[in-house]
């Protein structure tokens, strides 16, 4: 609102009231007192209206006051004589009440707060416009004013109508006035103390005025002068309304001091809301905060609140600091007028709030830091200048071993973190660091109160204040106990590794990326000849020109990250020769995973190679042996399947030859297929017991030949390790073909039986011969002699005849006995030998015999055998051959065998199998390991031939012994 506006308003006012005064002076129907008062009231309104408009430009109060003032001034037009002007004036006179009513109801903010107020005010405006017009329509001039000009809008002068209109108007006015009063009273009641302070005088004054107005109207019906007086008093009251307003204005200026008081109170730490309320004089004041990081309003306790808005007579003032809203003050609406006060208070509040906010932030930061420090795994402790612990975090407490921090705080650092033996040292070190306490590092090993050994590295630094004074010493520590353990372990591991490398017989060579030797162990020295000093730092020496290609390939593979093992090759020695080695190599990676070098292990396999060769030779020798021995050899696995090794079946040459199976017919098949079913069980048992480690006893089985025949074998099963690399359990079965032997044994058994039988037969025959022959004769002889004895006396001649006959009988008997004896064993053979005995035989043979006989004596058994052969043969020839001559020859052949032959020229056809005599001879001959042959073609004579081996001189039976022959017969 510029000065120009002010000047304009003032000019208008002066103009209007100048005019009014002029009119009042010249009017013929004006009551002086009333007019004067009216003008004074009007001027008062106008002046304060101007002031209010200036001071509170946005407050309508000023405008309303001006309206009242101007309208009232225009009301002075009633003082004219002009009908039109008069009418206009009467309208304006009444019209002034409308802004007045509005002013009162909207005081002090200038706004009508509720609909009821607005309606009321609207009604008033309506009434004051319509009323006088209606009255003017029907009333010529006011009753009391006869000199007044007529109404310009007079339609009809009707007493009844204008009375009615007036009454109506009066009623309406009264009603509205009453309503207004009620509303004012209500407003006052609902108002807070500051508002009441403002409203009080104004309303009070106005109420009084109203009373008088009502009184004036009421009394006016009865008494005019009384009504005038009352009206005058009412106007006087109204005049004071602006004065009251001025009072309100003045008060706000005084209130500025309260801001200073507020600041002081805040400085002393008074709660903000209370202090602000006191400063503004509004106990209903509320602060809502807009915290920085939130998006909503909170109250002093931090609880969320709704956004402060202006409702029901309360206003909101924003508190801002540097353009940023930080709070809102909700206060009584009446304080809106006192902008300066409120702004000043808000500014103070802003300062205070900022301080509060900073404090809150500081607290938060502090809380954060404390938590950080407390929960950090590192140790934090603060010491005072004497070395006592001021405070510590949780980690420190834990390291110290104490559970109660009271036991740590206040104690000397070295008493908590030092062992008795080094406490003094620690204390001295601390004291030596004073007074500068320069930042330092220190490693501290101690055993805490719980007995746990700890190692902590401390870093200390002094804490200074703004002036540079040292306040305390901060020590930060890291518990490196674990790390120390690990270091020790690592060293231990390294030591072990070193020991392994040093002691290993294998050559271990480590090289860097350029193939220069880094490590060369004693094993390498032994294998290659160079010592470590000779090779470390230089390129690897073991690769000769012939190794370059292969070594280059190996190198490439290792560099690509591969690990190589088991590579058989050779490398160069210091003396220039090559050594056979098995190589394993791998890249060595650094801690970042990249390859930093290579490590190679060389194992000297010279011996191993030799042994392999030897083993191979042995194996070949064994193989040859197995193949050539006559024993049948077959190797089976645990399931009795014949082994197949490198395509060949596990059988030897003898097996193939004897049984007739080929390699592929046999390989992999079950051995039981080649064994007679009856013997299969025994085979399984034998193999099983061999697998259990018990070498089986010899068993006999029948094995099948390819052509279906059986052979009898005597076999054993032995467990054997697998010659190939697989760890199977195998069984070696070796079998001897005993088919012939079995047959021989059968024959021998049979022959023995026959021999025994023959002996028994001979005995029986002897007994019979004795019984039948000699014994009978002797018996008969005995009878005859007795007869002769009986007849001796009576008939001597017959007795003599009987005796003679008896003598003959006796001779026969003796002869028979002699024959018999000869049959058993001829004495001549024992006494004079084979030749003589055969000659005696020949002498008794009825046919001519040609004999060729040895001169020397032979072993008794041999001579006996030959004698019986010849004897039996001669008897057979005589009995069956029908021959004319016989030839007998016995001769020693080469000193080792004696050959005897008896041949005749008879009919032949002798069957050696049929005659038991020849059978018995064969047995006798075979019992001496000899052989009997009979050749007897039909019609071609018969030849019996005997070959007998002569025993060696040491085993020779004594010759010519009396008694039984030495060989059993």
């Amino acid at each position: 609102m510029t000065t120009r506006h002010v000047a304009l308003l003032a000019a208008a006012g002066i103009l209007l009231y100048g005019g009014a005064i002029a009119l009042a002076a010249t009017s013929n129907h004006a009551g002086t007192g009333v007019v004067v008062l009216a003008i004074v009231a009007g001027i008062s309104f106008t002046a304060t209206g101007i002031v209010a408009t200036v001071r509170r430009p946005h407050n309508r109060t000023g405008l309303l006051m001006l309206a009242v003032g101007y309208f009232w001034a225009l009301g002075a037009l009633q003082l004219t004589q002009s009908t039109v002007l008069f009418t206009i004036g009467s309208v304006f006179e009444q019209l002034a009440f409308a802004p007045l009513a509005q002013l009162l109801l909207s005081y002090p903010t200038g706004r009508l707060e509720s609909r009821r107020h607005r309606r009321l005010v609207g009604a008033v405006w309506g009434a004051v416009i319509v009323g006088p017009i209606v009255v003017g329509l029907f009333q010529r001039h006011p009753t009391k004013c006869s000199k007044c000009p007529d109404s310009a809008i007079l339609v009809r002068s009707s007493h009844q109508l204008w009375v009615a209109a007036e009454v109506a108007f009066a009623v309406v006015a009264v009603v509205l006035a009453l309503f207004a009063l009620v509303e004012l009273a209500r407003r006052y009641r609902a108002a807070g103390p500051p508002l009441r302070r403002t409203l009080g005088p104004v309303y009070g004054m106005f109420c009084v005025a109203l009373v008088f107005i009502i009184g004036a109207n009421v009394v006016g019906a009865v008494s005019d002068p009384a009504s005038t007086v009352l009206g005058a008093i009412a106007i006087g009251c109204i005049t004071f309304v602006p004065v009251a307003f001025l009072v309100g204005l003045l008060r706000s200026r005084l209130a500025r001091g309260s801001v200073v008081r507020l600041l002081m109170e805040l400085d002393e730490g008074a709660p903000l809301q209370d202090a602000l309320a006191t400063a503004l004089g509004d106990p209903s004041l509320e602060i809502a905060y807009w915290p920085e990081r939130r998006r909503h309003w909170v109250d002093a306790d931090g609880h969320r609140v709704t956004e402060p808005t202006r409702i029901r007579g309360r206003s909101v003032t924003m508190v801002e600091r540097r353009g940023e809203q930080i709070a809102a003050l909700t206060h009584d609406g009446s304080l809106d007028d006192e902008t300066d006060l409120v702004q000043g208070v808000a500014a103070a509040a802003a300062l205070a709030l900022q301080a509060e906010r900073l404090q809150a932030e500081l607290r938060n930061q502090y809380a954060f830091l404390i938590t950080l420090v407390d929960t950090a795994p590192s140790l934090f402790t603060t010491l005072d200048l004497q070395g006592r612990i001021l405070n510590q975090n949780v980690a420190v407490l834990e390291a110290s071993g104490y559970e109660d921090e009271e036991l740590v705080r206040g104690r000397f650092f070295w008493n908590v973190f030092g062992d008795p033996e080094n406490r003094d040292e620690m204390r001295r070190a601390f004291e030596a660091a004073a007074p500068e306490f320069a930042p330092s590092e220190y490693e501290n090993a101690f055993t805490n109160i719980r007995g746990e050994p700890r190692v902590i590295t401390w870093r200390t630094a002094p804490v200074r204040d703004e002036s540079g004074e040292i306040l305390s010493i901060v020590a930060g520590g890291i518990d490196i106990t674990e790390r120390k353990h690990q270091e020790v372990e690592l060293r231990g591991n390294e030591e072990r590794l070193r020991a392994v490398i040093e002691s290993s017989p294998v050559a271990i060579v480590e090289v860097d990326l350029e193939n220069r030797v880094l490590t060369w162990n004693p094993g390498a020295e032994r294998t290659f000849g160079w010592t470590a000093e000779e090779v470390v730092g230089r390129p690897v020496p073991v690769i000769g020109p012939e190794h370059e290609t292969e070594s280059g390939e190996l190198d490439a593979r290792i560099r690509a990250g591969a690990v190589v093992a088991g590579l058989e090759t050779n490398r160069r020695r210091k003396d220039g020769t090559n050594v056979d080695v098995e190589v394993a190599a791998a890249p060595v990676r650094g801690s970042d995973g990249n390859v930093v070098g290579f490590i190679a292990l060389y194992m000297d396999v010279t011996e191993r190679k030799q042994r392999t060769l030897e083993l191979q030779r042995e194996r070949d020798a064994t193989d040859t042996l197995v193949q050539t021995i006559p024993t049948l050899v077959v190797v089976v696995d645990e399931n009795a399947h014949i082994l197949v090794n490198e395509g060949r079946a596990g059988i030897n040459r003898a097996f193939e030859d004897r049984l007739g199976w080929s390699d592929d017919e046999v390989g992999g098949k079950s051995l039981l297929e080649f064994i007679h079913p009856d013997d299969a069980y025994a085979a399984v048992m034998g193999i099983g017991s061999a697998l259990n480690g018990v070498p089986a006893v010899e068993r006999m089985s029948r094995w099948r030949r390819a052509n279906g025949e059986s052979v009898v074998v005597e076999w054993t099963a032995t467990p054997m390790p697998d010659p190939s690399t697989e760890a199977r359990r195998l069984v070696l079965i070796s079998a001897t073909d005993v088919t012939e032997r079995a047959q021989h044994e059968d024959e021998i058994r049979a022959s023995r039986t026959r021999i025994v039988q023959a002996a028994d037969d001979a005995r029986r025959k002897l007994e019979r011969n004795l019984h039948d022959g000699a014994q009978q004769r002797l018996v008969a002889l005995s009878v005859s002699l007795r007869l002769a004895e009986a007849k001796l006396g009576s008939d001597p001649d017959s007795a003599a005849a009987i005796i003679t006959a008896a003598r003959e009988e006796l001779a026969h008997a003796l002869e028979e006995l002699r024959e018999l004896a000869r049959g058993i064993h001829p004495a001549v053979l024992t006494d004079r030998g084979l030749a003589a005995a055969v000659e005696a035989l020949v002498a008794r043979t009825p046919l001519p015999v040609e004999a060729e006989l040895p001169e020397e004596r032979l072993p008794a058994a041999v001579e006996a055998a030959l004698y019986y052969v010849v004897s039996e043969s001669l008897a057979n020839v005589v009995k069956y051959a029908g021959a004319t001559s016989i030839r007998v020859s016995i001769a020693v052949d080469g000193g080792e065998t004696v050959v005897a032959e008896v041949s005749d020229d008879g009919v032949g056809g002798a069957d050696p199998a049929r005659g038991s005599g020849l059978r018995g001879l064969a047995d006798r001959v075979e019992a001496l390991d000899g052989r009997l042959e009979v050749e007897s073609p039909a019609g071609g004579g018969t030849r019996v031939r005997v070959d007998l081996p002569l025993p060696l001189p040491s085993a020779q039976a004594p010759v010519g012994e009396h008694g039984a022959p030495t060989r059993a017969v």
């Binding site: 009978q776 002797l778 005995s782 009878v783 007795r786 007869l787 009986a790």
Partner: protein
């Protein structure tokens, strides 16, 4: 009256000497056979009073022949067993055979025979 005797023995020399002794000592030798079978036939046909029976016969045992002879009802002859073997060799058999007795061949005489007969 002289008793009739049948001599059963497979040795002719003994048969000869036995005949000579028995005829000289009061017996009538009516026949000589050399086997069990022929002995039975001869007994049937000749009806001898006495049969001098050798135990060792070629075809049958003399004891069995004796048993058969004993079974001849009515006409059973008196049997005397002889042998070149000892009587002890036969044990109870002789007693159980039904024969009158046993005489070793070497001691054969008329008297020895008569002593056994009834």
């Amino acid at each position: 009256m002289r008793k009739t005797v049948l001599i059963v023995d497979d040795h002719p020399s003994f048969r000869g000497s036995a005949r000579a002794v028995l005829e000289a000592e009061g017996f009538d030798v009516v026949g000589e056979t050399d086997s069990g079978g022929s002995a039975i036939e001869a007994t049937r046909s000749l009806h001898p009073d006495v049969v001098l029976l050798d135990i060792q016969l070629p075809d049958e045992s003399g004891l069995e022949v004796c048993a058969w002879l004993m079974s001849l009802n009515g006409a059973a002859p008196q049997v005397v067993l002889v042998s070149s073997r000892d009587g002890c060799d036969y044990g109870e058999l002789i007693a159980a055979s039904g024969a009158r007795g046993f005489v070793p061949k070497a001691e054969l005489s008329g008297e020895a025979l008569s002593s056994l007969l009834e």
